[in-house]
Each structure stands twice: as structure tokens, then as C-alpha cells.
């Protein structure tokens, strides 16, 4: 299974000054490399853009409420 599996990493350029700043910042933290820190921060930011959920249709919601009332979860 490991055969033919390519490591899925790629290179991104960031300014050397920023790289050095991050290097200093992660000293003594759980982050072992600038790459792992940058990955962490980007994932955190990207997750903010998750699309808001579409609401259920009125009929759907009524059907669900009916069941919840029958089970005693709602008055």
C-alpha cells in the first residue's frame, strides 16, 4: 500500500524575515517546524470560511417537531 504513494506536500514561498520571526516564535512550543506552524495557522483561518448551513424546509422541520413531541422531547 505504501508503494506508489507520493507524499502530498508542496512548497510555498514566504519572506525570509517572516520565516525567521516564526522560527523565533515557535521556540519552546509544541511546534517542531515553521512548516507545521504555518499549516496549523492556515487551517485555522481556512476553517472560518465554512459555508453556513442551509436551513431545513418548513415541512421537514414540522415533521421533525411532530416526532420530538411524540417522543416527549418537546412539549
Amino acid at each position: 500500500m505504501t508503494e506508489g504513494k507520493e507524499k502530498k506536500y508542496t512548497t510555498v514561498s514566504i519572506p525570509t524575515t517572516l520565516f525567521k520571526k516564526i522560527e523565533r516564535r515557535i521556540k519552546g512550543t509544541g511546534f517542531t517546524s515553521v512548516s507545521s506552524y504555518v499549516t496549523y495557522v492556515l487551517r485555522e483561518i481556512i476553517a472560518e470560511d465554512e459555508v453556513p448551513e442551509e436551513p431545513f424546509s418548513k415541512e421537514d422541520e414540522e415533521r421533525v417537531k411532530e416526532r420530538l413531541r411524540a417522543l416527549g422531547y418537546l412539549e
Binding site: M1, G30, V41, A47, E50, E53, F56, R67, L71
Partner: protein
């Protein structure tokens, strides 16, 4: 309301008579009860964004990175194993009917059939290859191939507890109707002792609602039986929980005992139910001494994009000096003052038909458990 994992609540249901009948004409694979339950979990959105069994790319990414191929956090493979014989009989593009006994549970569109390395699976998911680990032992019994593809549910599998069975769509409406903007989820496979109650109530102090979500499904010898867990919580709710801020619903899926990775999986499912927070206890989803007591806390730092907020708890105990239930963060006193909530001790007493001390377990809860001849899985 918090978005489901991946942004959309999955719904893949077709309960029409026509489809059920057509299933009889299709090639078959059989599934057991736990597999049927997971098919329903996919189809009702508990496992959103999964729409079926993982294809190889997702499966391998989950093993390697604890993420789906689209980078979304996901830590436990959701797969269907098949034999060499099945592999030769099926081909990509086929529609297969998945039967539990004589009931067609779901249709599967075969997208891919692939091999896998059980040893690598065990190492990545369970962090061990020891067959002393129940998850590994289970894995080693699986067949040699995996089949991936989307599924459509034709029938809900049977449940012993229909009155407690809630799907994410239902909990989401329920939380909204109750006016809960923040909800903390509590995973359990135990009858509650006083320590559990304190963890839940400490968390509830900071949010609008508490959703107790016992896990019903295959467990190991010595675990509390499902009926016992439900009866014990019923008693606790009746006597000690405010009705407008706590509720109980079951989740039917098997314990994998994958410790840290399972803690992430547990959190994702509760996010799909609409929980904004999730309680992670000491040795969450662990077994024996396979994981460190706080490994399941640490793994959350690898997932800044999970969106559901983990609430990390240390164990509570009774301190004779404080005169109350505390934990080591809030109590300065030494071990000589401590009475621990020992699961082993409680089990021993219950097996002898005795109520554990009130400091450890509410008498109403103990009585509910003692109604059963044997409260534990044999």
C-alpha cells in the same frame, strides 16, 4: 447553529417500496448489526460529510494524516471489508444490496475495490499492533479487501431504544426549539457515577444545554449493558437534572477503543448533532494501558479547524477536607483526603448487589442498575 462537518448535513434515504423490492434483484453483500447502524449513521448525517464507504484516497489519507483527501479532519476509517470471492464477483460501477439478515438495509454503488495493510491500519489508528487491543483484534478478523462507494439507506436498522433514538436533523431542531445556542455533548459508555455528573454539570454551567449521548453498540466484556446505561441515566435525569437545560439521546455505533483518534471522531459526530462543545475526559475512548491519560486531549491541538470546542476535564474526586467533589486543579489537599470514583470499586459492589456509597453514586441510579440481574456485558 454550528454547521455540520464539511458544511452540509448528509441525507441519503430512499424508503420507497419500489427501491426495497428492486434490492432483492441485485447482487448482495451481507452486513452485521453494527455495520447496519453505521450505514444509517452515514445516511442520516451522523458521519457527515461521508456519503458512503471510503474510497482508497480518503482511506489512505485518514490513516496517514487523520484527514480526508480534501483535508477535512477525519480520524477513523469507515469501510466495508469483502472477501476475495466477493471481489471477483463484483466490479466497479455495480449497485449492490447490503442485507442485514433478510432486510435490505442499503444500496452501495461500487466505486472502488482495494487492498489494505492491516498492520499499518492498526499502527496509525490504534497506535499499536497488539492483538490484546480489542480494536486491533477486531481488525485482524476483517476480510482482505475494502469496497468504497456511496450508499443509500433503504431501511433503518432495528433499535432497542426507539424512544431515545435521535438523528442530527432532530437534535438540531430540538436545540433550536429549546433556544440553546451553545450545547455541550457528552459521550459515554458507562452508567453515571457522581464524578460524571460533576463533569457534565461543570460544563453545563458555561453553556445553554447539555446533550448526553450514550454510545450503544458492540462493547467488550465487563462494560455496562446498554439497557443499564439508559435506565441509570433516566434515574439521574429524573432526580438531579433540570429539564430545560439537559437532554438524552442515543448514538448507535460500536466502540473502536482508538483513544485519541476516536476522541476526534466522537467530537465530529457531536458537531453533526449540533453541539458547539464536547467534553473530553481522562483516557477518552481508551482501553487498558494503551494510551496515556491525556493523549486524547493533546490530539485536539492538531485540529485547529475542527470548529467544535473541546472541553478538557481531569478526573473529579471527593475531598474530605474541601467537603465536596473537586479536581486537582481546584483542591490543594493531599491524597490522604481523597475518595476516588473508582469504576472497579463501583462494579464490585454492584455485582454483589450492593449500593455503592452515596458519595460515589446516587442511590436512585444505583437502584436503577440493581434492578438488572447482571448489569455487565458477559
Amino acid at each position: 447553529m454550528i454547521s455540520p462537518h464539511g458544511g452540509k448535513l448528509i441525507e441519503r434515504l430512499d424508503f420507497s417500496e419500489k427501491s426495497r423490492e428492486e434490492a432483492n434483484e441485485l447482487p448482495r453483500l451481507s452486513v452485521n448489526l453494527d455495520e447496519s447502524r453505521d450505514l444509517a449513521n452515514i445516511a442520516h448525517g451522523v458521519f457527515s460529510p461521508l456519503e458512503g464507504y471510503m474510497v482508497r484516497e480518503d482511506f489512505e489519507n485518514v490513516l496517514e494524516d487523520g484527514r480526508l483527501a480534501n483535508d477535512l479532519p477525519w480520524t477513523i476509517p469507515i469501510t466495508k471489508d469483502i472477501s476475495e470471492e466477493d471481489k471477483n464477483r463484483l466490479k466497479e460501477g455495480d449497485t449492490v444490496a447490503l442485507f442485514y439478515n433478510d432486510t435490505p438495509i442499503a444500496l452501495l454503488n461500487v466505486e472502488e475495490i482495494y487492498t489494505y495493510d492491516k498492520k499499518e491500519y492498526a499502527e496509525k489508528v490504534f497506535r499499536t499492533t497488539s492483538i490484546e487491543h480489542p480494536g486491533v483484534a477486531n481488525l485482524m478478523k476483517k476480510k482482505e479487501y475494502l469496497v468504497g462507494g456511496k450508499i443509500t439507506l433503504l431501511n433503518d436498522p432495528p433499535t432497542k431504544f426507539p424512544q431515545y433514538k435521535l438523528w442530527p436533523k432532530e437534535t438540531r431542531v430540538l436545540f433550536k426549539e429549546k433556544g440553546w445556542k451553545t450545547v455541550v455533548g457528552f459521550q459515554t459508555r458507562n452508567a453515571p457515577h457522581v464524578g460524571h455528573e460533576y463533569v457534565q454539570k461543570a460544563a453545563l454551567t458555561f453553556v445553554d444545554g447539555l446533550f448526553i449521548n450514550p454510545l450503544i453498540g458492540k462493547k467488550k466484556k465487563g462494560d455496562f449493558r446498554d439497557e443499564v446505561i439508559i435506565a441509570a441515566y433516566d434515574a439521574l435525569f429524573e432526580h438531579y437534572y433540570p429539564k430545560n437545560s439537559a437532554t438524552l439521546g442515543i448514538l448507535e455505533t460500536e466502540m473502536r477503543y482508538a483513544g485519541p483518534r476516536e476522541a476526534i471522531f466522537h467530537a465530529i459526530m457531536r458537531k453533526n448533532f449540533g453541539c458547539t462543545h464536547f467534553i473530553v475526559g481522562r483516557d477518552h475512548a481508551g482501553v487498558g494501558n494503551f494510551y496515556g491519560p491525556f493523549d486524547a486531549h493533546e490530539i485536539f491541538y492538531e485540529y485547529p479547524d475542527l470548529k467544535i470546542e473541546p472541553l478538557f476535564f481531569r478526573s473529579f474526586y471527593y475531598c474530605k477536607k474541601c467537603g465536596s467533589v473537586v479536581n486537582d486543579k481546584i483542591c490543594p489537599h493531599g491524597p490522604e483526603f481523597r475518595v476516588n470514583f473508582s469504576g472497579t470499586k463501583i462494579r464490585e459492589l454492584l455485582l454483589k448487589g450492593e449500593r455503592p456509597p452515596e458519595l460515589m453514586m446516587r442511590p436512585e441510579v444505583a437502584d436503577a442498575i440493581l434492578q438488572f440481574d447482571n448489569p455487565f456485558v458477559e
